[in-house]
């Protein structure tokens, strides 16, 4: 099956859900005109990244009756969407969440499981930890959503792969840092290297939607990518500029690659589990 993938590399307005909602709908409009099947927005695309004390004003429930969610669900009748938002649950706990929406339904919500709280990051102060990594079925096959720090750790992509995800949907609001002689920032180089590696190690498509823009001097570098199951770069959005990057991908490439390099067939999760139990002392 061939699908048209879109990466909505936007610059959300900090803590202004209404403005960001309109921005999402404008990108949906553009994507629909280009016959895109699945449009992926970055981490916290509906709220901006450094939400801090504005959390309670910008957070929404991940239920169809929520006004923001219902607007996004309506848009998902035109094409499948991955949107990023601050989720509040029924007991006022907050999560960095990514939702896969399709044909008016919430297919899956992923809550970020690793919250960076070091250096320039302070996510653990404001958000609660998600506690599961799950693949889910879409009309284009089985996929998983992971959010930024989730894929700086090797285990969530590995778990998603074993849970059947053939397309990893990675979203981030990645702050650019590390200026040296290279034509890329250190943070860009790191993320591109690991995403390319995941694609090759898992024989899967790895889709990364990153945001652009600034928040109080902190830049978000964009450069959203799609890597093919052989690790080759399929498409990349520009650095530092808003863009809608589009590429057609052939999901049959996954099977072709795995015939050649049967890493999934030969993977030994029971060995991993046994050794993990030994390592953590169970």
């Amino acid at each position: 099956m061939k699908i048209n993938l879109g990466l909505a590399q936007i610059s959300p307005k900090l803590a202004d859900v209404r403005a960001n909602c309109e921005l999402h709908l404008a990108f949906v409009e553009r994507a629909a005109a280009q016959r895109i099947d699945l449009l992926v927005f970055p981490e916290l695309s509906l709220t901006g990244y450094t939400v801090q004390d504005a959390m309670s004003e910008v957070a929404h429930r991940a239920t169809p009756s929520d006004p923001l969610m219902s607007t996004m669900l309506e848009a998902s009748r035109r094409l499948d969407l991955v949107v990023g938002f601050a989720e509040v649950d029924e007991r006022s706990r907050y999560y960095t969440a990514g939702a896969y929406l399709s044909q008016g339904k919430i297919v899956h919500v992923h809550r970020k499981v690793y919250l960076p709280t070091y250096g320039l990051f302070d996510e653990g102060r404001y958000f609660d930890l998600g506690d599961s990594v799950r693949a889910f079925d879409t009309r284009f096959g089985r996929m998983a959503i992971l959010i930024c720090e989730d894929f700086w750790h090797a285990s969530p992509p590995y778990l998603a792969w074993l849970d059947g995800a053939d397309v990893l949907l990675l979203t981030s609001a990645s702050p650019g840092r590390g200026l040296g002689m290279d034509e890329r920032l250190d943070s860009s180089r790191f993320v591109e290297t690991v995403n390319k590696s995941y694609a090759a190690l898992f024989g899967s498509f790895v889709v990364h939607a990153n945001r652009v823009g600034f928040e109080d001097g902190m830049n978000f570098w964009g450069g959203s990518t799609i890597f093919a199951p052989d690790g080759e770069l399929v498409a990349q959005a520009p650095y530092f500029e808003e863009a809608l990057a589009v590429a057609e991908i052939d999901l049959a490439d996954i099977q072709r690659t795995r015939k050649r390099i049967p890493l999934l067939r030969d993977e030994r999760p029971e060995l991993t589990l046994r050794e993990l139990k030994r390592i953590i002392g169970h």
């Binding site: 900090l14 002689m181 600034f214 830049n219």
Partner: protein, 279 residues
């Protein structure tokens, strides 16, 4: 210099730096609903570079450059600032600050050169912030990372700005970027000076060379070496101690005024929003 040469670690890709800084200026100026910028041009390399960046970011016709000489300022400073104005085509104005500063100096017996320098820096700040209101323009800061870390600047004077494109570039990196952007050569070649009195140079006044101290600051700040590890890396103990003391004792200049906490929620302590949140 007894330590290995770490200067290569300060090398930057100027094209990438220019892209990030131009985008920064455009984004952070326009998101608050403003189109213009105002900048004080001293004739030195920092303000020249900042002016080049902001002119490229929002267009020279949106930039107001102000020359702010004191009567003891070097004539070269005015001429060098004019080179930048002519090269970029920004709006320009010259405001003599001697008439603002001298009456206070005259009625302050015993005021030393440093205090006079601070008065001049704050007089310049007053003019720039007035022009900010006049033109609906944000004041562009020109303090580089070396100055910010060593505290070589006047609080509420040249350190005052709305946004600063140079604050994460060491002085040696400012030079690299200036060369790449085509800042006029005489400005790049001359010794850095606050130009507060005749013959003053930054390096003479601080007793430090930028080429040397930038390498040490890079290890201490960016690489998080401890002072002891810097000594192990080859830097002189007394030099490391002196620089680290300068960083610590100038920290107050890098923070806003501290507030006594009384309530549950206090500005500056646990009232947490970015500045961008307000727009």
């Amino acid at each position: 210099m007894t330590h290995p040469d770490y200067s290569y670690k300060l090398n930057i890709n100027p094209e990438l730096a220019r892209t990030v800084l131009k985008t920064f200026l455009r984004d952070e100026i326009r998101k608050v609903g403003i189109e213009h910028a105002v900048i004080g041009l001293s004739g030195g390399i920092d303000s020249a570079l900042a002016c080049y960046l902001v002119a490229q970011a929002i267009g020279a016709h949106n930039v107001y450059a102000v020359r702010l000489p004191y009567r003891t300022s070097s004539p070269d400073s005015l001429a060098h600032a004019q080179l930048v104005i002519d090269a970029l085509g920004v709006h320009s104005e010259t405001v003599e600050i001697s008439e603002m500063v001298d009456p206070l100096i005259a009625r302050t017996p015993g005021i030393d050169a440093k205090r006079q320098g601070n008065l001049m820096a704050r007089a310049r700040m007053m003019v720039l912030y007035d022009r900010s209101a006049q033109h609906r323009a944000l004041v562009i800061g020109t303090s580089n990372k070396t100055e910010l870390l060593l505290g070589y600047g006047t609080l509420f004077g040249d350190m005052a700005s709305a946004l600063n494109p140079l604050g994460d570039l060491y002085k040696t990196q400012v030079r690299q970027l200036s060369r790449a952007l085509g800042v006029p050569q005489p400005i790049i070649d001359k010794p850095p000076s606050a130009d507060l009195w005749s013959g003053q140079t930054d390096e003479g006044e601080m007793g430090l060379s930028y080429a040397e101290v930038d390498q040490l600051l890079y290890l201490l700040i960016d690489q998080r070496y401890s002072p002891d590890e810097c000594v192990e890396a080859g830097f002189d103990r007394a030099y490391v101690d002196r620089v680290w003391r300068l960083v610590r004792t100038s920290h107050f200049k890098r923070r806003g005024p501290i507030i006594a906490k009384l309530s549950h929620r206090t500005v500056g302590i646990d009232f947490n929003y970015l500045r961008d949140w307000g727009y």
